[in-house]
Amino acid sequence: MSKKINIKKRYLALFLIPGFTLVAIFVISPIIGTFIISFETPSGFGLSNYYSVITQTSPTKALVLLNDMPRPPPWGALIHNLVWTAIHLPTTTFLGLVLAYLLRRVYGRSIVKSIMFIGMVIPMVVGGLIIRFMFDKFIGIVPNLCGLIGLTWLDKSWTSYPDTALLALIIGSVWLWTGFSLTIHAAAIDSLPKTYIEAAKIDGASDWQIFWKIIVPSVRAATLTVIVMTMLWDLKIFDIVYAATKGGPGGASTVLAFVMWLYFALDLDYGKAAAVAVILTLLTLIPAAIYIRQVMKRG
């Protein structure tokens, strides 16, 4: 019996080798390489890359820049990422869930869902460009609407001013990413037996109570997926920033990935770029760990 299993195991290893080799060459080795480079300095190995990246005070490359608060951005790329997540994550998650619930009875909902999903399908660079147009003083819908309802101080090109650039990107990313939350939640709601909602109706629940007491807890697994994927997306965000503001004006909308790109592509300082990359990777491990733990819990 055990001999049989051993043979099986040997075969298993044989089949694993090609896949594992590819992963090792193209995924694991670059990660290890980056990790090593992040410690390489002109004077040998050390932590100086990390030190100078973290203590950097130039607004375009700083990770944390919180002196003289409160004041408008720049606050440093890491803070921008965190602010981004703090606004974008709850908004898209909740908006997608509410829309999925409301659209469930709407005729032609698949068309609406498809339109919402376009934000996810288009290249993010194009998305960034659209955001720039959306917030333009002359052709943008947002500044014009703000002007119409009397918010004249917002009737300007948002991406050109440090106090509004980051906000414009965040709001724009809500618009781009809500389709994801909507699609995942709509699928989860569609897969619930219709009788849950009907039973709740007969039990006396209002639409709002059905939403909070039945729908939200029933689609928890889907919501967790949305939260984790959105957190990862918020941390990794680069292309929107690149296309819409280039981190500007004056570093008011930089993010970690963008700072990494600056070190790498403009300064050709690979050590510091690698240090930012490692920091970014460590941060993305947090949502990944949450997700893995939840999945393991559910067995």
Partner: protein
């Protein structure tokens, strides 16, 4: 408690008429069953009463209050679904308490009141030990009880049940049948119950409405629908095995009416005198399998037949008999409680039919002539 009345209710889904001009009167404290094959409109009728659908025309009354377009929550009803619809994220306690929690303020209940009521209902249904569990950890029968408890907790005017036993295994279904009937009688809640299982309907109902193709074909007590079907559909849908149907012609032989059937002839009427004769002179005889006896030798009035299949069922035996061995095969099933002799396929036997219990239907319309 309450009575329920439906007046000429029509419900269409696109071009399909799901419920076609249904009028029903369900009495206070009655166990009323809507019976029919799948797609006959029985569940839609129940959903109309529940308020999960609204009719295209007609009115629905509960206790003489017009509820036709009221929201489900304003009708004072409770419903048990086929899949039980227990909320998987709530414990059994929370599931049962849910209808009360939603109305807590309106009813002026404290948390202790709710707890007391849940325990009371749980005791009644013998699920006290399960209160802290989640529905996923319960067996089908236990889930069924929890669903019943949730439907009971509010002490609704009307209990609606959509095939609540069909997800249970056969043995448990028998147990729950009796239990449900006892519970309904004890509590005296007007109950409307949907099923496609004729045995369930016969064993539980005070009255049955047999439905087909969106229409109510017959309303009556289990005995009435079983023994006096108003339509050939009712006869063939109810009973296991169902009523035998034999298509015959009425022929005029010098003023004497003769019933000419495949394999035999007989004077018309065969039993009870019909009110009128069918237009086409064609009738369908409905013979219940248990009103047939068999003998080995011909006697006056017996019909000759050849056994095709013998189905022993323990307490009874069902014989499949071809009564027209010379012509087009016409099969009749006979249900025999005690067999004095062991029959086998291929044997020739003689059928003795209790003609006083044979139903005669118009072959064209299907409606009973008697």
């Amino acid at each position: 408690m309450a009575s329920v009345r439906l007046e000429s209710v029509v419900k269409r889904f696109g071009k399909v008429v799901a419920v076609n001009n249904v009028s029903l009167e369900i009495r206070d404290k009655e166990f009323f069953i809507l019976l029919g094959p799948s797609g006959c409109g029985k569940t839609t009728t129940l959903r109309l009463i529940a308020g999960l659908e609204y009719p295209d025309s007609g009115r629905i009354y509960i206790d003489d209050r017009d509820v036709t377009f009221l929201e489900p929550k304003d009708r004072d009803i409770a419903m048990v679904f086929q899949n039980y619809a227990l909320y998987p994220h709530m414990t059994v306690f929370q599931n049962i308490a849910f209808p009360l929690l939603l109305r807590r303020k309106k009813l002026g209940l404290t948390k202790d009141d709710i707890k007391k009521r849940v325990l009371e209902v749980a005791r009644l249904l013998r699920i006290e030990e399960l209160l802290h569990r989640k529905p996923g950890q319960l067996s089908g029968g236990q889930q069924q009880r929890v669903a019943l408890a949730r439907a009971l907790i509010r002490r609704p005017k009307v209990w609606l049940m959509d095939e609540p036993l069909s997800n249970l295994d056969a043995l448990l279904r028998l147990v729950m049948r009796a239990e449900l009937k006892r519970l309904q009688k004890e509590l005296g809640i007007t109950t409307i119950y949907v099923t496609h299982d004729q045995a369930e309907a016969l064993s539980m109902a005070d009255r049955i409405a047999v439905m087909n193709k969106g229409r109510v074909i017959q309303v009556g007590t289990p005995d009435e629908v079983y023994l006096k079907p108003k339509h050939v559909f009712v006869g063939t849908f109810i009973g296991a095995p169902p009523m035998n149907v034999v298509k015959c012609k009425i022929e005029d032989h010098d003023g004497r009416l003769i019933l000419s059937c495949p394999g035999f002839e007989r004077e018309f009427p065969p039993g009870i005198t019909p009110k009128k004769l069918p237009r086409t002179k064609e009738v369908v005889l409905g013979i219940r399998p248990e009103f047939i006896e068999v003998t080995d030798k011909p006697e006056p009035g017996t019909i000759k037949g050849k056994i095709l299949v013998v189905e022993p069922l323990g307490s009874e035996t069902i014989l499949n008999i071809n009564i027209n061995p010379e012509g087009e095969e016409t099969i009749i099933k006979a249900k025999l409680p005690k067999l004095t002799k062991k029959y086998s396929a291929g044997e020739t036997i003689y059928l003795k039919i209790d003609w006083s219990k044979v139903a005669v239907f118009d072959a064209e319309t299907g409606f009973a002539l008697t």
